[in-house]
Amino acid sequence: MTTVLVLVAFVAAYVLIATERIHRVAAALGGAAAMVVLGVANAQVVFFSEETGVDWNVIFLLLGMMVIVGVLRRTGVFEYAAIWSAKRAAGRPFAVLVMLVVITAVASALLDNVTTVLLIAPVSLLVCEQIGAPPVPFLIAEVMASNIGGTATLIGDPPNIIIASRSGLSFNDFALNLAPIVVILICVLIVLCRLMFRSAFTFHPERVEALMSLDEREAIRDIPLLVRSGIVLAGVLVGFVARPVLDVEPSLVALLGAGALVAISRMDAEDYLADVEWSTLVFFMGLFVMVGALVEVGVIGRLAESATSAVADHYFLGSTVLLLASGVLSGVVDNIPYVATMSPLVADLVHAGGGSPGAAAAWWALALGADLGGNATAVGASANVVVLGIAARNGHPITFWGFTKYGLVVAAVTIPVAWVYLALRYYAFT
């Protein structure tokens, strides 16, 4: 009976999160509270269980990176890079778009997607105005580059952070397995943009002077802070990469980096904490308790048993289904709760496969499906919603279908390309 009630509470909270009938934080906390009332979760489980409690590694990795971003964004380096690259492209709209897409993808691999688009969208609007190009194609291309670029690393997208924590996969594992396909997918995106937005790339030679008049060096407000921030960020990345040697969890590396940046920047607490999305952190906590309850009552275990017996040793088929289903579902529901729910199930599946490369590739199928599926619709990823808001505020509204008609094309092309990559890399030659 308890299992049924837990399942009902979970589905109810999930539906509320997906439909946004109430704020997602309230829905997740309500779901977590139901698990406590039903007696499945208690303080010992919620706070101290690694398997079914709040995953503090995820929470503190996110917190550390949010503080680091809060300091970095004040240096003006992103604005500098965007204007500098647009000037190198000599104001030719397609070349400018390629530059901005590449910058967005690289930044998104290191920062979360929402922060990346918040940084790149305003300067893109400025560049578009200077060169006389319509900004909507640029904004859509950037948010898609952000969703794809974030797939490349452990810290690029919250679903990847959850997968890393549940799977034990390292920063290097993510970079070695996902970065190559992300590079390919960014190239694919650029080709698609050329085809989808071809009417937006009219060159206006008379506007080049307006672009060249912008002084990107003025965007850098505090050069010593920029240098010190760069050194700390490089140190954090080294900490992630050198985990096999240092044996320090990514969450601690991020927190140490955040602490170092706060110390050298001498910013006030309210300034560097202003970019911490507390609601996101609380949302994660509620989700972990909800999913942990499903594990506690054995629902995830039974689903995993069914999935394992269905897959048997057909891991390629399993990864294919996981990639496609994740891609479709992430287009319509938030990919964070989806990945939080699927991770324990995939962990069991991979474990049943003895951790073989073919079985372990299910993690990459989950990550690619969840991250790339976010491009499919206007509500598929938080960054999409943020960009739609920025566009509307600046007098360039993008409707749901105005975004989705391009998003469906990009998702329909990138997910099959990712499938070919999985097939060739993990299954074709084994």
Binding site: L119, V123, S213
Partner: protein
């Protein structure tokens, strides 16, 4: 003292006045804003200087103030040019609540004037007589009346 006694002649503009003219009026007379009237002379609202600035400065620069630094003087002049193609009607916020007009009757007390300014965050309040604008009270005029004889001390001195 009542609003009618404090009121000073104040320029008004109509909804169809172009934005650049409104900005010049504010600048030349060093006003905090302008009273916007309907065609029949009744007050529509107050156009504050900051509202003109909000339209002059693109939203993306307001979102990311770092970008304000990258414009040179020529680009800044181009930004000013945005105003000439827009009317005062377009500079005003879209939602106008008729109950939120920063106006008082000519017999309003100084506290009533101050309350309207504080409530509506308006640096100027229009003064009406039978529904027609007869002038306005600025926040500086109000303070001048409220604190006429207080000696300036310390850092507040101007030379």
């Amino acid at each position: 003292m009542r609003a009618g006694d404090l009121a000073e002649p104040f320029p008004t503009v109509s909804l169809s006045t172009d934005g650049l003219t409104a900005a010049r009026l504010i600048g030349e007379a060093r006003l905090p804003g302008l009273i916007v009237c309907e065609d029949d002379g009744s007050p529509h609202t107050v156009l504050g200087g900051s509202q003109v600035l909000r339209f002059m400065i693109p939203q993306y620069v307001q979102d990311d103030p770092t970008l304000a630094r990258v414009y040179d003087d020529a680009a800044a002049e181009e930004l000013l040019g945005r105003l000439s193609t827009k009317s005062v009607r377009e500079l005003l916020p879209r939602r106008q609540d008729r109950d939120d007009l920063p106006v008082v009757d000519r017999d309003a007390t100084t506290v009533e004037i101050a309350a309207v300014m504080a409530q509506l965050h308006s640096p100027v309040v229009g003064v009406l007589d039978h529904g027609r604008v007869i002038g306005a009270v600025t926040v500086s005029r109000l303070f001048e009346h409220l604190f006429p004889d207080l000696p300036l001390t310390g850092e507040g001195h101007s030379s």
